[in-house]
Amino acid sequence: MPSGMRLLLPVVALGLGAAAAPAVAQDNIRVGITLRMIVENGLRYGQMTKEELEAVNATGGINGKKIEVILLDDECKPDKGVANVNRFIHQHKVHLVIGSTCSSVSMPMVDITAKEEVPQVVPHSTNANITKKGSAWVFRTAVSERFYASVHAKYLSENVGKKVAYLYTTDAAGIGFAKDYMSFMRKTYQTEPVYEAQMQETDLDFRSHLLKIKSFNPDVLAIGGQLDAIARITQQSYEVGIPSRVRRVAASAASNAPVPELAGDAAKGLTFAAAFSCKDERPVAQQFVKLVQEKYKVRCPDHDFSQAYETAQLVKLALSRASLKLTDAALADDRRAIRDALASIKDYHGLASGPISFCAEPTPQCRDGNRTGILVEYTKGGKDYDMRVLARVSFEPDFGLDK
């Protein structure tokens, strides 16, 4: 054997030894969470979901069983999400998976959880295809993009105008937002965009496109992308002189606090569809806002916070309803029981702007549980930003699906 190969053997042995499987705690309900946590709020979403689930352990657990949470970061990268979910399922032998933030990560996860028959709850991803894959094991607490697009599209067409210019970045959220809006306008009003342009996620200067948009004099400027792109485009749209009467509408990432903070005064009038607003007057919402303010030091929690919290509550509800044996031999039965318990949740009233309902069929109608979107407008930008809710729209389960 060559000397190099001989030297390699200890490296392999060391590596495999180090990667030996950790002991799996019996008699605990094991939950794996994978989210994008490379951003500050992402860390808080993950922490909140974990802490909300583990909170039951202080009061004796669920039906006397404690919850053990494994929290990992997927950095919004599918390969890392796939590695995380494989680790949850095969190494930690989890009963349930929660994840992820980005649709591009949740999609391959759905294939794995379907194949391995592990229930998966999607807290943040909005891409419509996630629940169209026909998996009997996936449940979504986030509002699907098939609903979102119509919340702002319908309201703005009826109240502002139908001449829409689109400027969006080439990430899943940006493309999804713009394409859905365009599709709605084509189908409903047979209206074509007055202008459409795609930019890179990393682009900083959007002024050349915005100057062209100004010359088309649109009613609405639709801005798709992640939060930094939305903030920049909004700000630069005023710099090039697009008047304030042109309504700026953005993808749901606009609900994240950095957008009004970065955009400053330009954020005033920026409209977006979301699942939750910290201005929601309901006691349950205000109680949640207070919790986040005190525990996570965030003044106005966005809908990713509320969806993370809501997911934890729904999971706890399902776990309390499921009859679990929590032995190695019963792992598959326990996973099935949790899936069925999730599917039995009907008209759950929590932080979402409408009730959340699931059912047994592996269809988007059954698994897109949250079907209510709200339209929110920033009334003030900067550090002490403020907002108001313009409209609340609930949809039928089959809305936006091909007949």
Binding site: M1, A21, M37, L72, A83, N86, H90, S103, S104, P108
Partner: protein, 321 residues
């Protein structure tokens, strides 16, 4: 003994590995290690042996992955034809990436290849037919005798022979005339040219051979369960991780890419729980390696072997005296 015999023994010894793994996650990690070995060994050829500073290797892997995915889903080729086709396409892309190296060197070549790599990623993100920013899904696994190799254990038997073959060929190339020409090129292109080495030709060969490896690794990743690829998996961060494998293992060392790929993949997996500090830890490892172990673990091994040989010679001489 024919040089291929130890490799055949290696295959036989490693065949039962999935059976020894306690769970499917370990099998998955072993598959990722083997694919990373192919990538790192390929990068070591162009960077470690031919001395060409490229940061475009990850883009070639993306080209291999997407080519294989398109050929199997849209053209209908089985994996066994899609893989070699993707490898050839990647090789052609490697030749194109190698062309700037005729006139550029060092940091300038790195910048040019970085630009090309980012262009590939952005082009994929902006192409709906390639899944765009959503990702390319439903890439089928390989089939053998009508059975899908879609478990991590069964996929191991696809990846292992290819990884060992890739390693064997890299060693064969590096011990041949071509390998010696690469080393001459790395040390001093002018001196190499003066000695009769066709600098342009060998630069292109280095890029093409390295690209063949990247294309193979890309295709293997694309067909591995769950059959999903995304442009976010081919960013500069992945390229830096790949460079870390080669630098940590020992740049220019014959086993460097292999040792680096094994250790970096395992360390990355073990530090997954400490996600807040993971990137800082990896950055620290790169800095410390460059500062205190510039030849990587391969360099340390070489140092140990040389010292042992000298000690043995000294011992023989002292015994004779």
């Amino acid at each position: 003994m024919h040089p291929i015999v130890p490799w055949l023994i290696g295959i036989v010894v490693l065949l039962p590995l999935p059976l020894l793994m306690p769970n499917a996650y370990q099998q998955y990690i072993v598959n990722v290690i083997l694919i990373n070995i192919i990538l790192a060994v390929g990068l070591n050829i162009v960077k470690g042996f031919a001395g060409q500073v490229t940061v475009g290797h990850i883009a070639i892997a993306a080209i291999g992955a997407y080519s294989s995915a398109v050929l199997s889903t849209k053209v209908g080729l089985p994996f066994w034809l899609a893989l070699p086709s993707a490898v050839l396409i990647a090789g052609a892309a490697g030749a194109m990436i190698g062309i700037p190296s005729f006139r550029l060197e060092g940091a300038y070549l790195a910048l040019a290849t970085l630009g090309l790599a980012e262009s590939v990623r952005i082009a994929i993100s902006a192409t709906d037919a390639l899944g765009g920013a959503i990702g390319y899904q439903n890439i089928p696994p390989p089939f053998l005798f009508g059975q899908p190799l879609d478990t991590h254990a069964s996929y191991y038997y696809v990846v292992l022979p290819l990884a060992l073959t890739a390693m064997y060929f890299s060693f064969s190339i590096l011990r041949s005339d071509i390998g010696r020409a690469f080393k001459a090129l790395r040390e001093d292109p002018l001196a190499a040219a003066a000695c009769g080495v066709d600098v342009r030709r060998y630069k292109v060969i280095a890029f093409v051979v390295s690209a063949l490896y990247a294309g193979c690794a890309g295709s293997l990743l694309a067909h591995m369960s769950p059959g999903f690829i995304h442009p976010n998996s081919y960013t500069i961060t992945e390229m830096v991780t790949l460079l870390l494998m080669v630098v940590f293992g020992g740049i220019g060392h014959i086993w460097g890419g292999v040792i680096g790929a094994i250790l970096v993949t395992i360390i990355y997996d073990l530090t997954r729980d400490y996600y807040q500090y993971q990137m800082a830890m990896f950055g620290g490892v790169v800095v410390l390696t460059v500062l205190y172990m510039p030849k990587g673990i391969g360099g340390l091994i070489d140092q140990y072997l040389v010292r042992r040989r000298f000690n043995a010679i000294r011992q023989v001489k002292s015994n004779a005296a």
